[in-house]
């Protein structure tokens, strides 16, 4: 019995590299440590990071969606 991850390509896509984007964006602190442009009175520092919560979630959803087919057979029971 082999898990999907044990095979080199099963379920994985090149989209996986996108999962690095949140790290690149969030660890470059100097790039977002500023007030302007403010959004509805909220300084950039705050709304930019809040926005990245959504962007990162969208990326993970996209990768999950693409990889779902490859994983479906060997993941075992459950919805």
């Amino acid at each position: 019995m082999k898990a999907p991850e044990d095979t080199p390509s099963g379920g994985r896509t090149r989209l996986r590299w996108l999962l690095l984007a949140p790290f690149a964006a969030m660890l470059d602190v100097g790039s977002y440590n500023r007030i302007e442009p403010a959004l509805a009175g909220i300084p950039f520092f705050y709304w930019y990071q809040l926005l990245w919560i959504l962007v990162a979630a969208a990326i993970i959803f996209l990768v999950y969606h693409r990889e779902r087919e490859g994983h479906r057979e060997s993941d075992g029971g459950g919805p």
């Binding site: 019995m1 996986r16 470059d28 705050y46 919560i53 993970i60 993941d75 459950g78």
Partner: protein
């Protein structure tokens, strides 16, 4: 005492208790088996896991402490947001694989996996002890969160009498965890999360409206708190501190035993992947909650006489309760405080179950009583879950709160040292168990030394690299050293092992 709020609070608390006991019958299983009591039978689907992990990771203490950090320290406290952003790509990439391994081999804890993968029970013991040490102060901190809201309800008694509500709450918690196992926090988490969402959205709408818009909130905050200070020459200053705090915390989060327990209780690896995409909903709520810290600043709560006693007793942790008392009618204060108190019960229950799983499986059965039956194993786990909670309760009642906070800070430094064995262990078979054990010891040693040099008061250590000061999260720096040692020694052992087999002609 605030009577309406206290009544609503008590009513919600009692209903949740009933739910906790009732949970034993939910998707009933044989509760004399450890994986049934301690992992809910590995049957939780996407939505239950979402509530369970949400209730588990975003604890009452988080909801009190993150806004408190913003209230007291400003922008640096917002690192909780990038932290909870970075956690989910890691969850997606690494932990479905742990689930698959655990399911295949019947593992209940991360230490089970590590001991089996590297055929090294001492490495398993190291991972177990780290997990136990990191979890205990975390449970105690949940009590801190609960104590703050109970205090804010107006119980002004001091000494042991003042602790009676807390003791009652914990007896209830201990009882339903004992009878229902992981099913109880899973069921209660649903109620807790709904209440938290309602509370946060009410606050995020009501407070800016009372202050005349978000721009008024931020214009009332001192400029120095609004952004991170720009690093001086020859230092990366607050930038490297902010980045390593976020990254280190993200790496550490899913190594905590209570996270592993919730992950392994899901019904498939796909449930975990799906949750990596939908759990960020909680991060968004946490981000909004963090901003409540600024709202407390803008409303000038720290200078109001009616809150002076609370701030004197609980420090900045009183910011959120004070804000709720200032803007909400009493009946809604009852709901909001109940949400926070139940928000302490859920993770405290999961943490005590996780600690019990580890003690029973990786210490009791692995080292002390290898011959024990499965039913005995589950029985011991139930007793240990009681002992763990009583320990946490004594800790909070008889020792200064500051100890729990400092130990939890150390817990983060320690738990991250299991990352090479648990996370890389899933992918790299060339790592050597003894090398990982030495790397772990070096990481724990240096991490603790850094924390000690900061008098256990701060997590950011000013490391000097090639003449530049790079302040960073001590846990992260210790992990880097741990990784270097683990990898280098693994290679060394592999090379010397090959030479030895070549010399004796066995190869």
């Amino acid at each position: 005492m605030n009577l309406t709020a206290t009544l609503i609070f008590a009513l919600i608390f009692v209903s949740v208790t009933v739910l906790g006991f009732f949970a034993a019958r939910w998707r009933a299983g044989d509760l004399t088996q450890l994986h049934e009591w301690g992992l809910g039978g590995r049957r939780f689907g996407t939505f239950v896991t979402w509530f369970l992990l949400g209730g588990d990771l975003y604890t009452a203490y988080t909801f009190i402490a993150v806004p408190a950090l913003i209230y007291g320290g400003g922008a640096i406290g917002f690192f909780a947001v990038p932290y909870t952003i970075l956690v989910y790509p890691i969850l997606y990439l690494v932990f479905p694989r742990l689930w698959t391994e655990a399911r295949r081999s019947g593992h209940v804890t991360a230490a089970d996996f590590v001991a089996a993968r590297f055929a090294n029970r001492w490495l398993g013991l190291a991972v177990s002890l780290t997990g136990l040490l990191a979890t205990m102060p975390y449970i105690a901190l949940q009590l801190v969160g609960m104590a703050v809201v109970i205090g804010a309800l107006g119980f002004q008694a001091t000494g042991l009498a003042g602790d009676i509500p807390l003791i009652i709450a914990f007896i209830i918690l201990a009882a339903f965890t004992y009878t229902s196992g992981l099913r109880a926090p899973a069921m209660i988490a649903v109620v807790k999360d709904v209440l938290i969402y309602i509370t946060v959205f009410a606050a995020i709408i009501a407070v800016p409206a009372a202050l005349g818009g978000m721009s008024h909130v931020f214009s009332a905050v001192p400029a120095a708190k609004l952004l991170l200070p720009v690093p001086p020459a020859a230092s990366l200053g607050s930038y490297s501190a902010y980045a390593t705090l976020a990254l280190g915390s993200a790496i550490a989060l899913f190594l905590y035993p209570h996270s592993v327990t919730a992950i392994l209780s899901s019904s498939s690896a796909a449930v975990i992947r799906r949750n990596a995409a939908i759990l960020p909903a909680y991060s968004f709520v946490l981000g909004l909650l963090a901003l409540l810290g600024f709202m407390a600043v803008a409303m000038g709560l720290g200078t109001r006489p009616e809150f002076a006693a609370g701030f004197a007793r609980f420090g900045t942790n009183y910011a959120v309760p004070a804000l709720f008392l200032a803007v909400f009618p009493s009946w809604f204060v009852g709901i909001a405080f109940a949400a926070i108190a139940i928000g302490a019960l859920v993770p405290a229950a999961i943490m005590s179950i996780a600690a019990a799983n580890i003690f029973t499986r990786n210490i009791w059965r692995a080292f002390l009583h290898p011959a024990c039956t499965d039913a005995e194993e589950a029985g011991i786990a139930k007793l240990v879950s009681l002992a763990v909670k009583i320990g946490a309760l004594f800790f909070i009642i008889f020792l200064p709160q500051q100890y729990a906070i400092q130990l939890q800070l150390l817990g983060g430094v320690w738990i991250i040292q299991t990352a090479p064995a648990v996370m890389l262990g899933l992918f790299c078979r060339w790592l050597n168990g003894w090398a990982l054990l030495i790397g772990w010891a070096v990481g724990i040693g240096w991490g603790t030394a850094m924390a000690a040099s900061l008098a256990f008061k701060a997590a950011v250590y000013p490391l000097t690299l090639f003449g530049t000061v790079v302040p960073g999260y001590a846990a992260f720096y210790a992990l880097v050293l741990n990784l270097v040692v683990s990898a280098a020694l693994s290679l060394l052992f592999a090379l010397s092992g090959r030479r030895a087999t070549a010399l004796t002609g066995e190869g």
